[in-house]
């Protein structure tokens, strides 16, 4: 199958007064039509910057995409002019954001904000656009949409606003929906509803979804494949069932272990000790090594390559063929 989106060796760096931050450093993946890709990682791992690179919405300065290609339907969007890019944004690739309380403009009605997106891409009359917006609000489960369309964002709850955001993202029937932590700011009960809605809509429109989250529970439910990111690097990439059944990378293992389980008798929640490394310094070795319980000398000195392991790709010396010699016998 032809991939809808193919990202190759993407590097997005931020040039700050404190030094250069490689926020996304050589990330490659693809998303097929109708597929849901989950990108998992803690804050600062480069998930959101990856998404914004695809939308070409990385604030420049300080951010800059310095390497790689992003093929959308076979065309490299990194070489497109800003005007061509605007035809893609919101039309072919749509995005929803983390905090629905702040992602809608407080001074315009939700109807106005949806209609605006329809009019710029679909070349329809305002009346048709309004009808379309009502239809979309209905689709995302907003009761009496013909009334609510005149509401301002502050008259709606967080869950409702996120539904509005989804309606807005879907109004031009995009091929790819990028959801940047769409449930993080919501109540747990609402989270499930929103995830279900995204799944339903994905089926209905045969869309692809790129789901960014730090919550493994979210990707377990919704994703086909997942990427685990850490400090701008891809650490593990594979089918969701495989990764959940048998996480390979120590970081993925750590993430899995930190999911609280009711069945567990442990008194304390498990966590991965330490924090993300300061990437502005010349960093040597594996970026996870300072926090890794299985790190050996080589991990601190050399950057591990991506290793193909069956259907899985993992960035760890442990899985390098003949890596045992370099790595030393793993215990």
């Amino acid at each position: 199958m032809n991939a809808l989106l193919e990202v190759n060796d993407l590097k997005t760096y931020f040039y700050t007064a404190d030094g250069i931050i490689p926020a996304v450093d050589g990330v490659s993946f693809k998303i097929d039509r109708g597929e849901t890709l989950g990108i998992v990682g803690e804050s600062g791992s480069g998930k959101s910057v990856t998404a914004r690179s695809i939308m070409r919405l990385v604030p420049n300065p300080p951010g800059k995409i310095i390497n790689g290609s992003i093929l959308f339907k076979g065309e490299n969007i990194l070489t497109k002019k800003e005007k061509q890019m605007r035809m893609i944004r919101g039309n072919k690739i749509a995005m929803i954001f983390q905090d629905p309380m702040t992602s809608l403009n407080p001074l315009f009605t939700v109807g106005n904000q949806i209609v605006e997106a329809i009019i710029i891409h679909q070349h329809v009359s305002k009346r048709e656009a309004i009808e379309r917006a009502v239809e979309m609000l209905k689709l995302v489960g907003i009761p009496s949409p013909e009334k609510r369309i005149k509401d301002y964002p502050h008259q709606m709850s967080g869950g409702m606003r996120q539904r509005v955001m989804i309606a807005m993202a879907l109004c031009c029937q995009p091929d790819l929906l990028i959801a940047d932590e769409p449930t993080t700011a919501l109540d747990v009960t609402i989270q499930a509803q929103i995830l279900e809605l995204i799944s339903d809509i994905k089926e209905k429109f045969n869309m692809s979804v790129m789901m960014i989250t730090h919550d493994l529970g979210v990707v377990a439910n919704i994703a086909d494949r997942i990427i685990v990111m850490y400090a701008g690097k891809m650490m593990e990439y594979g089918d969701v069932e495989d990764i959940f059944a048998n996480p390979l990378h120590p970081y993925t293992k750590g993430l899995m272990e930190s999911i609280p389980r009711i069945s567990s008798n442990e008194k304390r929640l498990k966590s991965i000790q330490g924090t993300l490394p300061d990437l502005t310094q010349d960093f040597k070795g594996c970026r996870f090594a300072p926090r890794c319980s299985c790190a050996k000398d080589i991990c601190h000195n050399e950057e591990p390559p991506l290793v193909q392991n069956g259907s899985r790709i993992v960035r760890c010396f442990q899985y390098l063929s003949g890596g045992d010699e370099k790595y030393g016998k793993s215990s």
Partner: protein
Amino acid sequence: MFNYIIKRLLQLIPVLFGVSVIVFLMIYLIPGDAAEIIGGPTATAEEVENIRVKLGLDRPMYEQYIKYISGVLRGELGYSFQTGQSVSEAIKIRYGNTFSLAVFSAIIAAIIGVGAGVIAAVKQNSWFDYLSMSVATFGISAPTFWIGLLLIVVFCVKLKWLPISGFSSQFWTKDGLTHMILPSITLGFSSAAMIARMTRSSILEIIHQDYVETARAKGLSERVVILKHALKNALIPVITVIGVNFGGLLGGAVVVESVFAINGIGRLMVQSINARDFPMVQGTVLVVATTFVIINLLTDIIYAVIDPRISYK
């Protein structure tokens, strides 16, 4: 919205009452006995007493206030000590000049200030940003009369593009307009500078908001993102500055009217203060203060029109 406006109108009543009390008490706020000051150093005790009776200053204070306020409500502000002219008539003649000057200045200040502020914010750290913000700092610091004189020297004396004096409030005629330009720029300069700085910082804050990113992610052009989504939000604090500055424009008119020889309320006020013409001072202060209160009311209503969240609070 309607309820909000009614509510704000009702709130106007105690404010205007306060204004009238303060204006009324002005005559007591000056040190010494008002009747003696009015009479001057040569007045005999009898003459001072006559003045006191004539002004009603011998009556109890509440009685004096009731007499004063009932006159005000009927539009009678008393008669000038100096000329015997009706105060309300004198103000009526001059009010239009000052008000049209202030409005014109406010419009010029708003257009230049918001425009420069937006461009400076969008092109942050560019030469335009540095230049406009330097001019703005200059505009805030330079005294009004000096800017007025400078403009007169350049545009009237050297270049001979515009007339020096002969102001009329009929700005819709070509003649009126040419007379309006320099005084308005002089008066509005510092206001424009403040608006520009406020707009710039407000836009810079707003463009990092999530909804601005949402607008970009929709595929809107940068122009629409800034002028529709960012500017409308950024204008809320800017409108406060414009509203408050309008009061400053009325006050600043005192200087500009003197520099450009405009027959306005500011000059009338200064002349009356110098002549100790109390009814005239009271009348002009009352009118200017009321105008200011009404402008503030309009500012609040504009808020509610722009920001739907306000009327709900």
